[in-house]
């Protein structure tokens, strides 16, 4: 290890400057090896989720009545005679773990994707309006944002899902409801980000030019300014997909997210704690899926941040 010293001033910047004309977004992203690895891992996961039906060795909701006798079946690599063909074992009621994980991938990935799309639609619109018009509208919208940022997200989500569950039944906590509740509450950071970009973008010359040739406000906001604010939104949205996947699995783990028998990585772990002693596999594998996907997405987000705007770090 080299002796500690001060960094040389600006050596990395010089290198960037030399290549500035040639270095495009894709070459910068490719240079970030872990982001590339993240993209590969995530693509495999998406593929596995899309082909869940074809890849699953068993029906994810079916109980293996032939082999299962009250105790979770072990994975085949641990006990080839007892496993009954379930390569990763079964859960406490005898359902195939691997099949449930494949179908659970569908839930986790789509909840993450759709909740973030909703969050970006709300957040970008409110942030753009606040940043573009300024004045009292900006003030009012930002105070609303402050309010939402002051109530910790997880307890608020839990209360809202509990209200939905209490007003009809727990089965009402469907995929769509979870997406809408998460999406409707997680927009404030996006709104702040977009507002900040718009505050400077609206003063730029091209914005003035767009105004001068008589474009209306809507066109200026969405056609001229928003495309220039895309970079930070993309980075934030990518990282938020990871956050939403963790949120959804936490809600499902606590019994207030995706409801069984529909498999989600979170609700597969809900009963794992009481069976920790007898079935370590039921606790380990679904959580490992969450960790791997979230890690992959976080590395992609990190790579995108470097590739889209090297000054953002």
């Amino acid at each position: 290890m080299a002796a500690p010293s001060l960094p040389l001033p600006g050596n990395t910047v010089i290198e960037e400057d030399l290549h500035l004309s040639k270095v495009t977004f894709w070459t910068r992203l490719r240079r970030h090896k872990l982001a590339v690895a993240g993209i590969v891992v995530l693509s495999l996961m998406v593929l596995a989720a899309a082909l869940a039906k074809q890849l699953s060795p068993f029906d994810p909701n079916a109980i293996d009545n032939i082999h299962w006798q009250g105790m979770p079946l072990p994975p085949c690599f641990q006990d080839a005679t007892l496993c009954g063909g379930h390569s990763l074992g079964t859960d406490e009621v005898g359902r195939d773990l691997l099949s449930r994980m494949l179908f659970g991938a569908r839930i986790s990935l789509t909840v993450g994707l759709f909740a973030v799309i909703m969050e970006v639609l709300i957040g970008a619109t409110l942030g753009a309006v606040a940043g573009y018009y300024g004045g009292w509208l900006d003030y009012a919208l930002m105070r609303v944002t402050d309010v939402f940022l002051s109530i910790p997200l997880l307890p608020l989500l839990l209360v809202l899902t509990a209200i939905v569950a209490a007003s009809s039944s727990k089965a009402a906590l469907s995929f769509g409801v979870i997406v809408v509740i998460i999406g409707a509450l997680s927009w404030p950071p996006v709104a702040r980000l977009v507002r900040a970009s718009f505050l400077s973008l609206r003063e730029r010359e091209f914005a003035e030019a767009a105004r001068a040739i008589g474009n209306n406000d809507g066109r200026i906001i969405f056609r001229h300014l928003l495309p220039n604010a895309v970079a930070p939104i993309v980075v934030q949205a990518t990282l938020d997909v990871a956050n939403v996947i963790i949120l959804e699995s936490t809600l499902s783990f606590l019994g207030l997210g995706i409801q069984p028998p529909t498999a989600s990585w979170g609700n597969m772990l809900a009963n794992a704690q009481s069976n920790l002693q007898s079935a370590w596999w039921a606790a380990v594998f679904p959580g490992l899926c969450i960790l791997i996907v979230v890690l992959a997405i976080n590395y992609i987000g990190d790579g995108l941040r470097d590739a889209l705007d090297p000054n953002m770090r």
């Binding site: 001060l6 105070r143 309010v147 002051s150 209360v159 209490a166 007003s167 699995s249 704690q273 606790a283």
Partner: protein, 319 residues
């Protein structure tokens, strides 16, 4: 002072939103009575009148707010005691857990960040930043399960036939106070709760110190012939730690959310577990009391961070 005043309307707005949610809770506070066949519609109407539920919503809100401000947060049906009392009783346990985890997180996170920045682009730096990425990506509840699996269910074998076996639930084994026993119960939940913040603090400390190391005044200090150690401690860390104060204060919401999960899994008798219990039993008053308290703590900690930041860094001025 001005910022203190600004947080009052913020808290009021939070209370309006929370009240709106409370008001939409199905059944409302009379839900238990509606199921009872011995209670007639006339009784319900009388109860509604007595509880002021037949008055306009804004009036009801103001009355509710008045009660909250005098410390009366209503009656918790799941605990059969006033909400305020139920929360205060559980507060020390949560404080113990969050305090311990924050101490761990600051200690490990900040030192890891410093090492990472000083030995930047070395193998050690690589290991630390990768570890921080794992910590940030780890679902807290699953990490808790894995720690239980490793340290409580199986135990970690040590050479010589010993093994590390830690309790996986509760705050103590007996009613009498025993420091060693309390500490062994604290290790797992505090470690679980601190993981995310270790990751956050180390990443933040690293970039903050790297930024300071690249400044002109650091180069001036080096040009004066001071050795690296002196520059780092006397000039570098002092400046690099200032923004970390803000990050620590801003980590409170995630710490509270993490405490809910950790307390539930480790059967820790704190406010988070109280909240989850209230959730399963639809104990409205307690849920609202908890959310209000938590929102208040968050607003207060943001304010505190601003004030401390301005105090530590004379370059920052609030108008």
């Amino acid at each position: 002072m001005r910022r203190t005043l600004q947080s009052i309307p913020l808290l009021l707005a939070i209370s309006v939103i929370l009240y709106a949610i409370l008001y939409n809770m199905p059944g409302g506070p009379l839900a238990p009575y509606l199921q009872n066949p011995h209670i007639t519609a006339a009784d319900i109407a009388r109860l509604r009148h007595n509880l002021g539920m037949d008055q306009p919503v804004p009036i009801q809100y103001l009355k509710w707010l008045g009660h909250i401000l005098t410390g009366d947060m209503g009656y918790s049906t799941s605990n059969s005691e006033p909400v305020f009392q139920a929360l205060i009783e559980r507060f020390p346990a949560t404080l113990e857990l969050m305090g311990a985890s924050l101490v761990i997180a600051i200690g490990i996170g900040v030192s890891a960040g410093i090492i990472s920045a000083v030995y930047r682009y070395s193998l050690l730096d690589y290991v630390i930043t990768t570890g921080a990425f794992f910590g940030q990506s780890m679902p807290v509840f699953w990490f808790a399960l894995m720690m239980q699996l490793a340290f409580a269910v199986h135990g970690i074998p040590l050479p010589g036939g010993y093994q590390i076996q830690l309790p996986s639930a509760g705050i103590s084994s007996s009613d009498t106070f025993d420091l060693g026993d309390r500490l062994t119960h604290l290790i797992l939940p505090a470690a679980v709760l601190s993981l995310l913040n270790i990751a956050l603090f180390s990443r933040f400390m690293r970039s903050s110190l790297l930024e300071v190391l690249g400044t002109d005044y650091m180069r001036t200090a080096a040009a004066k012939g001071l050795n690296f150690r002196t520059i780092l401690y006397k000039h570098g860390l002092k400046n690099a730690l200032i923004p970390v104060v803000t990050v620590v204060a801003l980590s409170l919401p995630s710490l509270l959310a993490g405490a809910i999960i950790t307390e539930t899994i480790f059967a820790w008798p704190g406010m988070g577990r109280l909240f989850i219990n209230a959730l399963t039993q639809s104990d409205l008053a307690l849920l609202m009391g908890y959310l209000l308290l938590v929102a208040f703590l968050v607003v207060f900690s943001n304010l505190f961070a601003d004030v401390v930041y301005a105090w530590l860094d004379p370059r920052v001025k609030y108008d």
